[in-house]
Amino acid sequence: MTRRVKATGQVIALACVAGLLALLVWSVVHQKKAPEVGAMAPAFTLQRLDGPGRVSLASYRGKPVVLNFWASWCQPCKTEAAVLQRDWTTYRGRGVVFLGVDYHDLNSDARRFVSAHALTFPMLEDGSGSVTSRYGISQVPETYVLNRQGRVVAHLRGPITDPGFATDFQNAIAKAAA
C-alpha cells in the first residue's frame, strides 16, 4: 500500500516536471518571428479604424501590398506619415495597396493621428497587438512590402524616411508590382 502511494506520488511529480518542460519547449518553438523575405505573410482580418467593417489581407491577393505598422504615440511615425501618404497617392494608380495597422494604441488617439496627417489609405486597428506580434514587430514604425502572391518582398525596420530606406522602399514596391 505504502509503496504504491509512494510510486504514485513519484509518477505525479514526474508528470508535473515533464508538463512544465513541455510548456517551456512549446513556448520556445512557438516564439513569434518576423516572416522572412520570400515567406507568405501571415493572414489576418482586422477591424477598420477609419470606418465600419473588417478587412482581411487575403482580399488584396493579386495586388502588391504595403503594410505599415504604426502608433500615434510613436514619434518617427509622425515624420513618416506624410511620406507614406505621398507614396500612396503616387502608387495607388498602379494598383498598389497601402494598409496601415495601428498597434497598441488608443483608437481615439489613432483617429486623431489619421485626421491630423490627412492619411487616406485604409487604416486597421490592432489594439491587442495579436496580428502585429505575428509579424514580429518589435518597434514601430515597420513596413512590409508584399507581392501579388502575398509573399514578403521586403521588411523595413524603421521609418521609410530613414536614409537608405527610401531607395529600398521604392525598389521593393517595383519588385512587388512586377
Binding site: 506520488g9 489594439g127 497587438g129
Partner: protein, 153 residues
C-alpha cells in the same frame, strides 16, 4: 512629456471639484496603475514610462475626472486593447486556471505534508528487548565472562 504632465495635472485639478458630483467613490489613478498593463513593455502602468503608457495614463485621468468607475475604465481599456491590458486574468474560461491552480497547489502540498507527518508520527520506535537475547556463547565461556566482569563491580 511636458504636455502629458500638463494634461495629467489639469485632469487632477478638474477632478477635485468634480468629485462632489460623483455618485460613487472616485477610483484612483494609483490603484488603476497597478491593475493595468503597459501594452508595449509588459509591466504594470505604474512601472512604465513608455509613450504608450503615458497615453493610457492620460486616458485614465480623463475618465476618473468624468466619474467613471474602475469597472467602466477597465472595460473601455479591454474593448480597445483586449483582455491582456489587465494585470489580473479574468474569472472565466481558461483564465480561471490562473486563479485555481495556486489554490489546488497549496491544497495538494498540504495533503502531501499531512500524509508525511501522519506516516512519521505513526512509525514505531524499535522496542527494547525485555530479556537478554542469546549471546551465542557456550555456557562455560559465559560463566567465565560473568566472573571476569564481577571483578570490576
Amino acid at each position: 512629456m511636458l504636455r502629458v504632465a500638463a494634461v495629467l495635472a489639469a485632469a487632477l485639478v478638474f477632478a477635485a471639484p468634480a468629485a462632489a458630483g460623483c455618485a460613487h467613490p472616485r477610483t484612483s489613478m494609483n490603484y488603476l496603475q497597478g491593475q493595468v498593463m503597459c501594452p508595449t513593455c509588459h509591466t504594470t502602468l505604474a512601472m512604465s514610462d513608455s509613450p504608450a503608457a503615458q497615453r493610457i495614463r492620460v486616458f485614465i485621468a480623463h475618465r476618473i475626472a468624468a466619474c467613471w468607475t474602475t469597472q467602466q475604465i477597465e472595460a473601455a481599456l479591454v474593448a480597445n486593447y483586449g483582455q491582456g491590458i489587465l494585470a489580473a486574468p479574468s474569472h472565466k474560461g481558461f483564465d480561471l486556471l490562473a486563479w485555481w491552480l495556486p489554490i489546488v497547489g497549496v491544497l495538494a502540498g498540504g495533503i502531501v505534508l499531512a500524509f508525511g507527518v501522519w506516516r512519521w508520527s505513526g512509525r514505531k520506535e524499535p522496542e527494547e528487548p525485555d530479556e537478554p537475547t542469546d549471546s551465542g556463547l557456550d555456557e562455560e565461556t559465559e560463566r567465565r565472562l560473568d566472573d571476569l566482569l564481577a571483578r570490576f563491580d
